[in-house]
Symmetry: C2
Subunit: 303 residues, 2 copies
């Protein structure tokens, strides 16, 4: 007796996160239609037992729950209100679960438009990475009306291990996510800078990892990303351009609010330099390689 | 049968860290003489069963092991080679355990001078805070000759839960400590900035703490310092001026090595602004109060 038995869901955006979330919904008994602009992602959905659709509108038709796992506010608006968008196909009482990272005011604008049509909007940014997406063990920072939570509940339970319920206003979840992204971006940049600084002293970088992960200088990101540097493996688990985007949103929000965020600003410049140097699509630990290009240090080479 | 039974140790610098370390040595059976410029710290040593001394030289006379817990290279040099310094009183074969945070090249210079006199030097910066100092559960990042380690061992075992043995060259331990301090300083500044950013959005700061400590944006420092902000308690566990000092050392080292460290540089500016605003001796989480002075946010008030 699974939570999704007999229920129809749609997933828009079937990349590394959305693909895993669709699989988690299928395992929970949902019938899942999905849409993505990349044909290979549609084939992967079909292989997992889902039904590829030709547009967001086609995917959403008849679904009680639509989960949108695209990258930003512009894509979310296109998914909802663009040509062959979801909004026109969704029935009153259905819920749109929006997982893209965006500014709270962008969330509020989208939610207001959708709710005027009688469709619920759950602001539901996600955290946890691709492995936990595939396991149905994400962390979701959610806010929205009681009705939106109620309608979304079976899908949330299928996709997440931790659901933070952060209030009844869409945009609050997004605010929490932006605080997390500010810290995550700063910590990745700092981890790469610290490893480069250690290399400039000629320290044994594996010992540095061992010592720091047991010390007060540790962070979740240091622990998670520095192994990529030690293994010289810059295949993107999460790309540099995710942080040029997310720290860009933080800086835009902060400027509008006349709020100085100097640490986030400096981190954004490092991600932009790394992207400018041609590594935007590589793993975000590539900030370490930026330092290695401009300073007389050597980092581990691929074995 | 304790490790220190019948052994004489000296502790120079009996503040929040050194005082706890002296107590740990006493519990392990060492006889401990100590020196500090603050009379109250000498009284505390006497109350714990140690013997106050009138100078570093007087404390060190007859000691097999001298533990120096002062704040920087200048003070360490004065403790060793200044008027009534330790070096003149120490016997060949004794060991000087230096815990101050300083640049590796400063360590190498001091170690060379002392070793020319036949006295061992262990480069042994510490991490863990005052509570773990008092419990004898510090982390020590140590480097030095095999003879220095052997001579220091009983005291290290009494003071530390974790002893990282980082090689036979004095200065390597200091290098690891500076990497840790770079990260620690950046993470404190980032934690304060993130809390201020969250406050600018009107988010519930206790929920922010709960969500972030379970997310990828977490750091050891976020988890440890943000409660000071939530409780509006800026009594110094570790002061702003510790980081103006330690990040200053990082920046000096990096400049000498022609190594850019932009994240550390930005964090140092925030600590300097906080110190300039009159909070240098307050808890390092006071960087959050700096943001509250210049931006339209409100942080928790003392209850």
């Amino acid at each position: 007796m699974s939570a999704g038995e007999g229920r129809a869901a749609a997933v828009i955006g079937l990349g590394s996160m959305g693909g895993g979330m669709a699989a988690a919904l299928l395992r929970a008994g949902f019938s899942v239609r999905g849409f993505d602009v990349v044909p290979a992602n549609l084939e992967r959905l079909a292989a997992a037992g889902g039904a590829p659709a030709a547009s967001p509108e086609a995917a959403a038709r008849g679904a009680e729950i639509v989960v949108s796992v695209v990258v930003n506010a512009e894509q979310t608006e296109a998914v909802l209100f663009g040509a062959a968008g979801c909004a026109a196909a969704m029935a009153p009482g259905a819920v749109f679960i929006s997982c893209a990272t965006m500014a709270p005011e962008a969330v509020r604008a989208l939610a207001a438009r959708l709710e005027a049509m009688g469709i619920h909007y759950l602001d539901a940014p996600i955290s946890g990475g691709t492995a936990r997406a595939a396991e149905g063990k994400l962390t979701i920072m959610a806010s929205g009306s009681k009705a939106a939570f109620a309608a979304a509940r079976p899908a949330l339970d299928a996709m997440a291990a931790t659901i933070h319920e952060l209030g009844d206003e869409p945009g609050t979840g997004a605010g929490f996510k932006m605080v997390n992204q500010l810290l995550a971006g700063v910590h990745i940049a700092a981890a790469c800078e610290a490893v480069a600084f250690a290399a400039s002293m000629g320290l044994d970088l594996r010992r540095v990892y061992e010592v720091i992960t047991g010390s007060a200088g540790n962070s979740w990101m240091f622990e998670n990303r520095v192994p990529h540097i030690l293994d010289a493996d810059y295949a993107p688990r999460s790309a540099v351009d995710i942080f040029t985007k997310d720290l860009g949103i933080v800086l835009d929000m902060a400027r509008r609010g006349r709020m100085p965020v100097p640490m986030a600003s400096e981190a954004l410049q490092l991600f932009l330099m790394t992207a400018a140097a041609g590594m935007g699509r590589d793993d975000d630990a590539s900030v370490a390689r930026l330092f290695a290009r401009i300073a007389p240090i050597s980092l581990p080479e691929p074995s």
